[in-house]
Amino acid sequence: MTPTVHARSRFRLVDVLLTGTVGLSARRLRAAFSALGICIGTAAIIGVLGVTQSSEADLLTQIDRLGTNLLTVEKGQGIGGAEEPLPLTARPMIGVLPGVQRVSPTAVLPGGVYRTDLVPAYETGGIGLRATDPSLMLTLNASLLSGGFLNPATSRYPVAVLGFGAAQALGISRLDDPVRIWAAGRWLTVVGVLEPVELAPEIDRSVLVGLDFATSDLGFDGFPTRLYVRADPDRVGGISSVLARTANPENPDQVKVSRPSDALAARLAVQGSATSLFLGLGAVALLVGGVGVANVMVISVLERRSEIGLRRALGATRTHVGLQFLSESLLLSSLGGAAGVAAGVAVTATYATQQGWTVLVPVTAVWGGMLAAVAVGTIAGLYPALRASRMAPTDALRTV
């Protein structure tokens, strides 16, 4: 027998992809639906990462803006969470500590605050009355929504400044005409409304009056219940460790010192753990999408038996047939993944813009999401491709 140099069949890579595209375009609706599964999974992953990244960045700028050098000093809270008085010496002693920039005392006063004297006493709306001095504004780095803050003069008179939440609860939005409120059994004139104070939410829910007025008219005994301390940013650690002893040298363990910016930092951490949960859900969605692709591909292989037979007759090897189906599922998942990335970015942009955040989508999320989609599609396509490649030509050509 004369040895014949044998011409092999060849299936160029371009043609593999082209054939895959043709296979999909012949069944567009089905392809679209199975790609949708992958799309939703990828969009969920990108969206979760994008939204958390954007909100984290926002929290970080918030922390930067508010500063991490604000400390609060209060006596360990009594039963029911009410603030307890601190010693009279606390404020002057803390004020002379090196590195302390500002100290402002506040004291919770008894009595509810009402819009008018006709409101029943039990409808406090969760608002409290609090005495403070004019320095609080600077210590908290707070800003005014309207009107002015307490000053040494007005501190002696029945005037009040409302926290943002308190103003909302009382239904006061404009100060063009004189507004009065009913607090601790007397009328107070509202002179100002504060913007929200992120680091001191208790101020938001308070109606603030001057210490002098509180002492003279409301029977205030002069004991502060909470001090706000603004410290040198470089010495915050050292100062916070001596604050308790300084505030109450006899019983330092009864004093609670806290750093409100820690709460924001804690929110970052909480968000981090929520992210992994949602990311897990996104991954599950992607997996379900992959199962959908596998399902569609298996059906496709069964339906296209005669096409497989024809291709074998035209000279396709087993591998060529397998490659064709694998490329279809790869294309399907890439399309789904790309659409998912776009949708995820769109969701992030919409949500972040609504929240007033800067839109941030991590680059790793984009290619990671795309990669995950492609990987899922490939794995989903493996079994159907294997089935297609193993089909004997004579079986494939047999018409039922």
């Binding site: 027998m1 004369t2 014949t4 044998h6 011409a7 092999r8 069949s9 060849r10 299936f11 160029r12 371009v14 043609d15 082209l18 054939t19 043709v22 296979g23 375009s25 012949a26 069944r27 005669s306 096409e307 037979g309 024809l310 291709r311 074998r312 007759a313 035209l314 000279g315 396709a316 090897t317 087993r318 591998t319 060529h320 004997a392 030509p393 004579t394 050509l397 018409t399």
Partner: protein
Amino acid sequence: MSAALALAAVWKRYPGDPPVETLRDVSLSIDAGELVAVVGPSGSGKTTLLHLMGTLDRPTQGEVRVSGQSVSRLSDVELSGLRAHHLGFVFQQFFLLEGVSILDNVANGLLYRGLPLGQRRAQAEEALLRVGLGHRMRQRPNQLSGGERQRVAIARALVGRPAIVLADEPTGNLDTASGRAIVDLLHELNGDGTTIAVITHNREVAAAMRRRVEIRDGRIVGDSSVAA
């Protein structure tokens, strides 16, 4: 002159109880340039014979040679190469891809030879002109009549100028007039030098061929070229 296709003492047995023998000791040689009809009733083993001739299946016993090449020891990859370069198929059901233009359906006949798309299309155009469908190249298969579809399938089988074209009941799904036109086309192509084997149960189709091989119960019971 060497045979384009030759079968020597070929048996095909399917295991079972009792085993089914669809081909029994079949020997057949088709020379280049021949137009042969393999004719027999259904169940006679015609399709099995076509599958063996087309290397889509292997004989249980005996030898099949395509272009002088014995196929028994070839791997799946080598057999696929043989089909891509030496064999062309025409099926009763046409097997055209619905989502693809006529031109690309024919160009697919060269897909597994690794030729670039432009070259495949150029040759496909030529093949379509040969079967008289030059004007319908951009259309989709569903816009064509059954007879036209079969012409497309024939163009696809021809496009690579294979050593032999195997046609399995090419007129089986067509009305008499279209069937006759297909037979005429096969004659015409054979006149141009294409080796063609037509498998059919239709005596009229078979009668139109120069050489007729009759098969019954897996055995060749008549060969007009031998008888003559």
